[in-house]
Amino acid sequence: MSNASSTEPEIVYDKQGNPHEVIDFNNDYEGAKLGFWLFIFTEIMIFGAMFLVFGFYLFQFSPDFIAASEGLNRVLGGTNTFILLLSALSMGLSLVKLRNGKIDESKKFIWITIILATIFLTIKYFEWSHEIHIGIYPGSPTLDALSDGTKLFFGLYFTMTGLHGLHIIIGIGVMFWVLALINSGKITSTNFVVLENTALYWDLVHLVWVFVFPLFYLIY
């Protein structure tokens, strides 16, 4: 992202002789942020499409969906909601600390985020393994014997929470990469766009859960 060679900005002058800066694509903070926001839009379209499918079947199979929602573990789901909330806070604080020049504290907050994300995944793992243990997973004989709406509810449940979980795993990977960049001095208190974008990504992951949680766990 940074290019040491272009330290002097390129200036062009209009007819009146006013200077205008040529933006250097190698070091364009606003551009990097805009690019990442566009990426976030694609993610919103992906999850939005899944919610579209969810809504489509919720309309057709409301009783089945309500009954199936009853079977999910709200305590674990609720705990996970709070964990993500906390992790979004710690991610944000790490950015604040970095920009105030407190590199070590910033790293500490990233570590806290990573730990919280891992706890989220562990809880998710227990939730899933419980459901798989009682025979509820796509294509299982138990599930196939149930009503169509129930099959669709769990099909969507595993797809959407699975996709969300995948995003958390990727997020953890990105955070380790960010830590490495901080250690090697590539991210500094003035050149922080990578960490800022990581924080944006993490907020997106949180944002998706804000909708996933009530729609799956609380519609009964």
Partner: protein, 555 residues
């Protein structure tokens, strides 16, 4: 011409710094011009493959009954043809080749915003292409679902649907990255002074295109993933035996794939908007109208997907809504055509090959567009849906619109890209051959479709024979024309005369630098406070020399 500074063919920078090895210099180059050429060669290789499959299909259909391939092979052939043409050729076509090459040049930028991601797009594109090709040779062969991957057939069939779906997904991802790159480039890297309404119209069309890529592609991406999950885990979302609704997949597929056809045609319109003023020797008529109509087509084009599904069982209410919206898209499209034709008024038209291609395309695309209106009308479409009429309409719009304008652009920017000139006489003859072959190939299909010949048929009832025979003969003429054209371009590239920086006397920034361009594109970046197409008495108002001078090396 590049006696001052070497061209981008001679030097480059790669993602790893500098390499001695020529091949590595190309495939790891982060220079937007080299990436454009990488796309170009791979794309035309796949174009050749897809044209060949089409020729095989047409040959099989020459007479009724089974001649030399069996129905399953035929089904795989049209799927292969569709997947390659749509996902590997037309969708990336103009944006990834001409867009990549020209966008920074027309904006006055030194590269796109994210050169490394640009290279990543190409690698993803290659990965997707590789997956598609690999699936030809393993197991039960290439998918036989048609490029639409409708469930439940795509869930039931034994062929390598997962491979094709993964390929399409990865190609979609590559296309998203290109789109993001372009939008950021257009927002951030315009030359100082160049406001949005001072950009060349090709850039405007790429801007609209990129938004479609960003906002529509993810929807089809996730739908394809759900079909993959359906096949591997049986999640049931599109499987009727588990309560799923196949029509939902049709919705989600077309939410992307209809905007995708605007994604294909918009950059092509952009090319026309460049060529028409250059060869009319005057400013384009209605610059603002053309620019805004691109955005309108992109916006409204997003909301018309349901017209692919009039017979699928969607509700009557939504059929009428989609029909009305579809007609509405025709208005901005019409405005563009009227503007182009108005540009010809009181002009001094120079019939060079790019202009020939553009005028030819106006004819074929107007046919494609007007037949689009015919099938947009609900009651009429119910009769014509899934017949050869739709096949012909689609090819008139996409082949006769997008690909022809792509060829026009290839001829127009050929001297810029290669620094050489092709033979004008042969290029014009190649155009006439292709134009005749094209109409002979596709026009009979309108009639066959009107008479009720359904599409994707391996065999047909005997009374359609005459139309199939005509089309097959047309396909041979068309193929010969293609060979002629590519050979002319190849001769031009190898043996053509040097073209000079501005052979057409055009006005946009890419013509103010040497051909082929130098690695950093511009020596000094101009302050652009004027409109892109300013002519006076048929001559450009400004002649600039923006080449990189020896004494002022950049980077």
């Amino acid at each position: 011409m590049s006696n001052v500074h070497k061209s981008f063919y001679d030097e480059t920078h790669t993602v790893f710094g500098h390499h001695k090895n020529k091949i590595l210099q190309w495939i790891f180059s982060i220079d937007h011009k080299r990436i454009a050429l990488l796309y170009l060669f791979v794309m035309f290789a796949f174009f050749a493959v897809a044209v060949s499959t089409a020729l095989v299909m047409r040959l099989e259909l020459f007479s009724p009954g089974q001649d030399f391939i069996d129905p399953d092979t035929y089904n795989q052939a049209f799927t292969l043809h569709g997947v390659i043409m749509i996902f590997l050729f037309i969708i990336p076509g103009i944006p990834a080749v001409l867009g990549n090459f020209l966008l920074p040049l027309q904006l006055g930028a030194r590269d796109v915003s994210f050169p490394k991601i640009n290279l990543l797009s190409w690698w993803l594109y290659m990965l997707g292409a590789l997956l598609a090709v690999t699936s030809l040779f393993i197991g039960d062969g290439f998918a036989d679902t048609g490029w639409t991957f409708y469930a439940p057939y795509s869930i039931k069939t034994d062929t390598n649907v997962i491979w094709a779906l993964s390929a399409a997904f990865i190609l979609g991802f590559a296309s998203i990255l290109t789109g993001i790159n372009f939008v950021v480039t257009i927002h951030r890297l315009r030359a100082p002074g160049m406001g949005f309404f001072k950009m060349p119209l090709f850039v405007w069309s790429l801007y609209a295109t990129s938004w479609i890529q960003i906002l529509a592609t993810p929807v089809v991406g996730i739908s394809l993933i759900m079909v993959i999950l359906e096949r591997t885990f049986g999640i049931g979302i599109f499987d009727p035996t588990k309560g799923g609704d196949p029509v939902l997949l049709e919705h989600m597929f077309w939410i992307y794939s209809h905007p995708a056809v605007y994604l294909m045609i918009l950059p092509a319109f952009g090319i026309a908007s460049e060529i028409v003023p250059t060869f009319c020797r005057k400013p384009i008529f209605g610059y603002h109208a053309i620019a805004i109509s691109s955005a309108m087509i992109a916006g409204v084009g997003y909301l018309v997907w349901g017209h692919h599904m009039y017979t699928s069982g969607e509700s009557e209410m939504i059929k009428l809504i989609f029909s009305a919206l579809t007609f509405f898209v025709a208005v901005p499209t019409g405005v563009k055509f009227f503007d182009w034709i108005a540009t010809m008024y009181k002009a001094s038209i120079d019939f060079k090959t790019p202009m020939l291609w553009t005028v030819g395309t106006f004819i074929t695309f107007i046919i494609g567009g007007l037949t689009g209106l015919i099938v947009a009308s609900v009651g009429v479409d119910i009769y014509l849906h899934d017949t050869y009429f739709v096949v012909a309409h689609f090819h008139y719009a996409i082949l006769g619109g997008v690909v022809f304008l792509m060829f026009a652009g290839m001829h127009y920017w050929f001297p810029k890209i290669t620094g050489k000139m092709y033979n004008e006489k042969h290029a014009a003859r190649a155009f006439y051959t292709i134009f005749i072959g094209f109409n002979l190939l596709w026009f009979p299909m309108f009639i066959a479709g009107m008479l009720g010949m359904p599409r994707r048929y391996f065999d047909y009832l005997p009374e359609f024979e005459i139309w199939h025979k005509l089309a097959t003969i047309g396909s041979w003429v068309f193929a010969l024309g293609l060979i002629y054209m590519f050979y002319t371009l190849y001769r031009g590239w190898r043996y053509g005369e040097l073209a000079g920086p501005n052979p057409w006397n055009a006005t946009t920034l890419e013509w103010q630098i040497p051909s082929p361009p130098q690695l950093p594109n511009f020596g000094e970046i101009p302050y652009v406070d004027y409109m892109p197409y300013e002519y006076k008495n048929g001559e450009p108002v400004r002649h600039l020399d923006l080449s990189v001078k020896e004494d002022k090396p950049h980077e």
